[in-house]
Amino acid sequence: MFTRLALILCCAVSAVGCSPKHEPSPVDQALSTTAHELILPWHQTFVRDTAELQQSLERFCQNPGNPGELEASRQSWRTAMMSWQTLRVINFGPVADGNQAWRLQFWPDTHNRVGQKVEELLAKDTPITAEALAGSNVLVQGLSALEYLLFDPQKTPLENYQNLRICEFLTAASQNTANVAKALHSGWAMEGDNYLGVFLSAGEGNIAFPTNRDVVTALASAVVMSVEFVKNRKLGEPFGGRPGGGRMNPYHVELWRSKTSLPAMQTELAADEQLFLKGLKPVLIAEGHADLANRIEQSFGDSRKALSALPAPLFDHVRNEQALPQFQAAWDTLGQLIALLKRDMPDALQIQLGFNSSDGD
């Protein structure tokens, strides 16, 4: 808010001699827009959706025989999970402090470690509280454990929820999830730990971001890592590496229990695109690379289309040979996007992608 006000003031007086050196650079402007229009609102939405999930599960657990409340809770879980899919591209700042991401979602999980640890805890007789979960292994703490409890085929018959311990777990894990969401938001918020301030005040003395080019690097690395995760892991893993690789295993699909894999991929890619459009594209344009910026934007659009052509739920179609061409097309399209982001964009922005990016293939 303050930044915007300053902008407006500066422009207003520029006609009467506001010195050009006070005008925010295109980079600063892009970063400010990214922070205020994406990063902060995404965190706010996640806080809201996880709080709703918590309330919804509390309602259900007051009357665990009510199928309508159970379905409402599942829907709240889906909404909260999609908020997380939007947020997960932001892999720097508060989320990196103590690996918060894994507390919310643990995946890939080929060996069903989540189910294993949830069952171990259910079999004990220690009280399950949000505090106890917060001090436990990451697998039992958040949305992944909740997915297991709400969607695993062995758990879903309504009578299972009469088991008091399951409801104790559901409410504790949803409360812990809401707590993590609040802490992440507070980590960014100006009225909290104000990582936003760190993000927007690159310069000497700022250890995280000595120059605003370092902020651009963090954004670019985050986008690259996220798009690679969508391609190599979310799309590749169920096929043993890549569609057509011949090693299909539907249990390697992300979120196979809730069958929300495809919306999750689309949501994450849409967040990547937003981050590119607001945070990186203006910088590319300002620095004379409009052509590359447009090609990347086009490629995001192509990738979006390729994903929307995939059959859902992925779990049911991994072995579907007729769908293989669509999976391969999505793989190739995302590959082209990654090539632009990883090969061309760093040179244009004069940055070196940090070790937050991964090599992929």
Binding site: R113, S136, N249, K342, F355, N356, S358
Partner: protein, 426 residues
């Protein structure tokens, strides 16, 4: 883009000149060439893989002796030989990433974690990969195996059969071969979770005829013999590619393109340090408190495996490897190259490597403490703050080391350098 590069090129000779004059008073460092550094790299690879081969042959001798006369003593001797074979092998892993012939070959040799129910009997509560149709195939107990519509003949158990069975049913965790299959055959499942103790397979699992425990001792012996023979063959093959004296070997190709090799060296170092060792082998096991994600989970040798992984990275930087027989292989190194161009960066790299070494040395010391040893699977137990701190310090040191490796890549003009993180962010 082009403009931005130009000043760099202009500045470079000045920097070189300046650092050369600074370096002059101590010991005039000979300017090393990328070609000379690559030569050392291939020599080191040849020696390290060569040692892995020699120690695997020793393992094979011990296994044969054990199978000829199974006893507690001969089993212990075979286990010791396995542990000794891991020392050079783990150091070779710094040559894995970035060198496709090694990375592609590796799956048959060191794949992990594995669904051991594919190989032999397992205890109740065994956790395997979801959707893995062969996770409980038990090759040792079954001369025939039906998977889907096909029936596989699994008799006799030969190295060729095992190589065919690796990744059976299209799953990477169906590891029928390599160090960890042999480890499982020598130690058995570690059923102690996060408590003290490793796998405890009785030697009688290999006693022929009367006295055989857990059944199928003949096929179990066949399996152990075949897996060990295959390991030796595989190591012979990979050692061969590092023979620079022969034309057309992989080493010869690298020597022909020394500039590319520098990138491979740094990529291999960074990817092992960050994505593999800090990420897959430590962070996952720690954050999930998951003993099944421990690297040498049957033998409880994980601390040593980690230690020698890190040592392999340092070997490449310093261009120096101490062979199993004590001989030293060394030559012009990355260290020389960096020292000549940016002595301060070299100093920081040395410090980063020392810090990693110290952190992992602390892990080894804790694991081998004579009074109250704490193995890696105990360190990752839920609520073990002291144990988790040991691992976290190692992870942090490796993350910091990788950051310096990236700076070195930048210094050497390597663009688009991004070590494989296996999707871990730190």
């Amino acid at each position: 883009m082009k403009l931005a590069r130009l000043p760099l090129i202009l500045i470079a000779p000045v920097v070189l000149f300046a650092s050369a004059s600074h370096a002059a008073p101590e010991k005039a460092k000979e300017a090393v060439s990328a070609a000379a550094v690559t030569r050392t790299y291939t020599n080191l690879a040849s020696a390290t893989f060569g040692d892995a081969l020699t120690t695997a042959r020793q393992l094979q001798k011990s296994v044969e002796a054990f199978l000829a006369a199974p006893s507690e003593k001969s089993l212990q001797a075979a286990r010791q030989a396995w542990l000794a074979a891991r020392v050079p092998y783990m150091q070779t892993e710094a040559f894995r990433f970035g060198n496709p012939p090694v990375d592609e070959w590796e799956g048959q040799v060191n794949a992990w974690p594995l669904d051991e129910g594919l190989i032999d009997y397992v205890a109740k509560g065994y956790q395997h990969e979801m959707g893995n149709v062969a996770a409980t195939a038990n090759i040792i107990a079954n001369p025939e195996l039906k998977i889907g519509n096909t029936t596989l003949k699994l008799d006799p158990i030969t190295p060729e059969l095992l190589a065919d069975l690796n990744e059976l049913g299209g799953s990477e965790v169906n590891v029928a071969t390599g160090y960890h299959a042999i480890e499982f055959l020598l130690w058995g499942q570690d059923l102690n979770g996060s408590g003290p103790g490793a796998g405890n397979r009785p030697y009688t699992d290999y006693v022929q005829g009367k006295g055989c425990t857990n059944g199928n001792c003949d096929r179990r012996a066949q399996y152990l013999r075949a897996a060990t023979e295959l390991l030796v063959k595989d190591l012979e093959e990979i050692t061969g590619i590092w023979d620079a004296a022969k034309p057309d070997t992989y080493a010869a190709q690298l020597l022909a393109k020394p500039e590319d090799s520098l990138k491979k060296m740094l990529f291999g170092m960074g990817s092992l340090a960050l994505g593999e060792l800090a990420g897959e082998r430590m962070k996952v096991a720690l954050e999930a408190n998951s003993t099944e994600d421990e690297h040498d989970c049957f033998s409880d040798n994980t601390h040593n495996s980690h230690y020698y992984n890190a040592k392999g990275i340092a070997n490449i930087y310093f261009g120096r490897y101490t062979r199993v027989n004590g001989a030293v292989v060394e030559g012009p190194s990355l260290a020389d190259l960096v020292q000549a161009k940016n002595p301060a960066l070299h100093t920081r790299m040395v410090a980063a490597l020392e810090k990693t070494e110290a952190a992992l040395q602390a892990m080894v010391a804790a694991a081998e403490d004579p009074k109250s040893p704490q193995k890696f699977d105990q360190m990752i137990a839920e609520g073990n703050a002291a144990g988790s701190a040991i691992i976290k310090r190692s992870i942090e040191a490796l993350v910091a080391e990788t950051a310096v490796i990236e700076e070195i890549a930048k210094l050497l003009g390597i663009s688009n350098f991004a070590p494989d993180t296996a999707d871990h962010s730190f």
